[in-house]
Amino acid sequence: MAIRTEELLLNVGPQHPSTHGVFRVIVKLDGEVIKEAIPVMGYLHRGTEKLAENLNYTQIIPYTDRLDYVSAMTNNYVLVNTVEKMMQLEIPEKAQFLRLIVMELQRVASHLVWWGTYLLDIGAMSPFLYAFRDREMIINFFNELCGARLTYNYMRVGGVKWDAPEGWIQKIREFVPYMKSKLEEYHTLVSGNEIFLARIKGVGKYDAETAINYGLSGANLRCTGIDYDVRKKDPYCIYDRFEFDVPTHTGGDCYARYLIRMEEISQSLRILEQALEQYPEEGETMGKVPRVLRVPEGELYSSIESPRGEIGCYIISKGKDKPYRLKFKRPSFVNLQILPKLLVGETMTNLITILGGIDIVVGEVDA
């Protein structure tokens, strides 16, 4: 007679060290093999989109900081960019440069957090502290710029709130080569580690068709060989003025996503180098904006490339100073939807590897 076996129902999260916040997966385990995985989200839901309906456009900006709190600058931008497009505002040159510089710095900082925490998920503790040392420098730059370390509230409709303080641009100029050398160091430390490669190669694999069907974006899409980056395909801000590559890979696994994110850091540094060279020292940081922002009646969707993928903002305006309806297309939320499909048949250990590889921020998943 066979021994009676039972499926083990395991709650991973919402309090778990590796679910990157209050995210929960209910997994049915057979031994250590996952039979079924059901993601449960919404623990961090704050109703940002509903709240936005009762706020004027400037008041919404701080709420966007709290969506993807690892990359607040790009969230700021997606909102103000949509409003500016609807109002057809001119943005001063200097403000454009400042926006681009902070967004690319933010991408570096965000990928550093991902790199550190991903290795922490895989069991290596040291890279986390290395990554946070460098991220701390970027955060200090932002702190000097706008007085906040995470929730910047830096951009405004029509420009940016603060001009760069004296010597700030010079500090970034010094930071870029430093970060380049550190990136190389990280590659020598981690990217060749046999255990690390064994853990991520071939794990969480999917093809281009699946990626498109699930609507993935960012590194999760580009790892299947599809060259899609909003910065290239539909240039916003002043991205069309700079030379950079969009890294792609055909592996479709966690290793491909790892390589793409690491390469994106060096591409961001490349953009920064060019932008800092052309940076106009003189000029306005705010364009001509009416005292009360009334967006003309109509609706518009516009998207940008956040570190996690394509983040979009959809605004319906009835001509008032508040949006009639506001919707964020959040890449973390969309990318997460593929998780249950990827997890079936994997082990408990790979759950963490795959979830980490998708790179979610729960603030953005739950909005």
Partner: protein, 336 residues
């Protein structure tokens, strides 16, 4: 010492034994206290941190404070846990870890038992600890703890075998299982130490030992990022401290065993350095092994369960068997 063992067991002799055991316990506890401090400092330096530096001068009292804190903590037992086993598990884990220390010779005269089956005794007793880990995982009535316990059982079976077989080469060459005699055989310069002729065995032994210790990259039973804390997730206070204590006592034991088996024990590396007392050499080698174990933790990611199993059975076991074969050839060709 050796004479004492042969004497009749009188009250006086018994007292001496008891006192020596207490001395040993204190020594080991002292080691554990400062091994934890040392580990935190070393890893701190490797990770751009300072490590403990607030409690006492240079943070030297940090571990003492931690143990005191654990003593004062509420001792919780989950309502649906198996009470008896839950209480028993840390004891079963700790006692063998302390008992194996008897077999290890520290210097030519400093040892507790001169056993003819020292190697076997160590291997046999150290596997008992795993039962405590599995029991703790099972009795906690927690799914994460259960997974951790099961992993530990699987890991123990897979790595105990290469660990023991990797030592077989030395036993064959030395012709004895007595650890003290094995050390005596390595007299006269570092080229006589076992790790050179037994290099395959040495590598297998170190890898299997790290796995036995449940340390990075083989810390699967407690895999923090997956299983939260693994088998001791429900333990608190002093029961938790017992698990931790057992882990560090094993660090002590494995480092001492490696020193004795492979690194020439108390012998000096070069004959003209013989004037330095043996205990100094022993401590130096011992500390290097301990440092190596801590160093690994700051460097390596964690392997996956199936990779761990595959590596144990497909790489380490054949390698250790090859080592036996090579040792046999060596004996046949050079030692006859």
């Amino acid at each position: 010492m050796a004479d004492l063992l042969r004497n009749e067991m009188t009250l006086g002799n018994f007292t001496i034994f008891l006192l020596l055991a207490v001395v040993m316990l204190l020594l080991v506890l002292g080691f554990v206290t400062y091994a934890i401090y040392f580990e935190r400092k070393v890893i701190g330096w490797m990770q751009l941190r300072i490590g403990p530096n607030r409690t006492g001068p240079l943070g030297l009292l940090q571990s003492v404070a931690d143990v005191l804190k654990l003593l004062l903590k509420e001792d919780t037992i989950p309502a649906k846990a198996d009470r008896t086993l839950f209480i028993l598990a840390p004891v079963i884990t700790f006692v063998p870890s302390f008992a194996v220390l008897v077999a290890i010779p520290y210097t030519n005269w400093g040892y507790f038992a001169n056993m003819n089956v020292g190697v076997l005794y160590y291997a046999a007793l150290s596997s008992i600890s795993t039962i405590g880990v599995v029991l703790g995982g099972w009795a906690s009535n927690n799914k994460y703890a259960l997974l951790g316990g099961m992993r530990s059982a699987a890991q123990m079976i897979s790595y105990e075998i290469p660990l023991v077989i990797s030592m077989t080469g030395i036993i064959m060459v030395s012709g004895t299982m007595n650890i003290r005699d094995i050390v005596l055989n390595q007299d006269g310069g570092f080229w006589h130490w076992n790790f050179i002729p037994q290099i395959i065995g040495f590598v297998v032994f170190i890898i299997a030992a790290v796995s036995e210790l449940n340390r990075t990259p083989f810390d699967l039973p407690e895999a923090e990022s997956e299983l939260v804390a693994g088998y001791h997730v429900e333990y608190s206070g002093f029961r938790f401290a017992f698990f931790m204590l057992a882990e560090y006592v094993y660090v002590f034991a494995i480092a001492a065993l490696t020193t004795a088996m492979f690194l020439g024990g108390w012998h000096s590396p070069l004959p003209f350095l013989d004037f330095v007392p043996g205990i100094v050499w022993f401590l130096l080698k011992f500390s290097s092994v301990v440092f190596f174990l801590f160093w690994l933790r700051a460097t390596m990611p964690r392997v996956r369960v199936d990779q761990l199993m595959g590596f144990g059975w497909k790489v380490l076991l054949p390698l250790s068997l090859v080592n036996i074969f090579v040792s046999a050839l060596y004996i046949e060709l050079f030692l006859r």
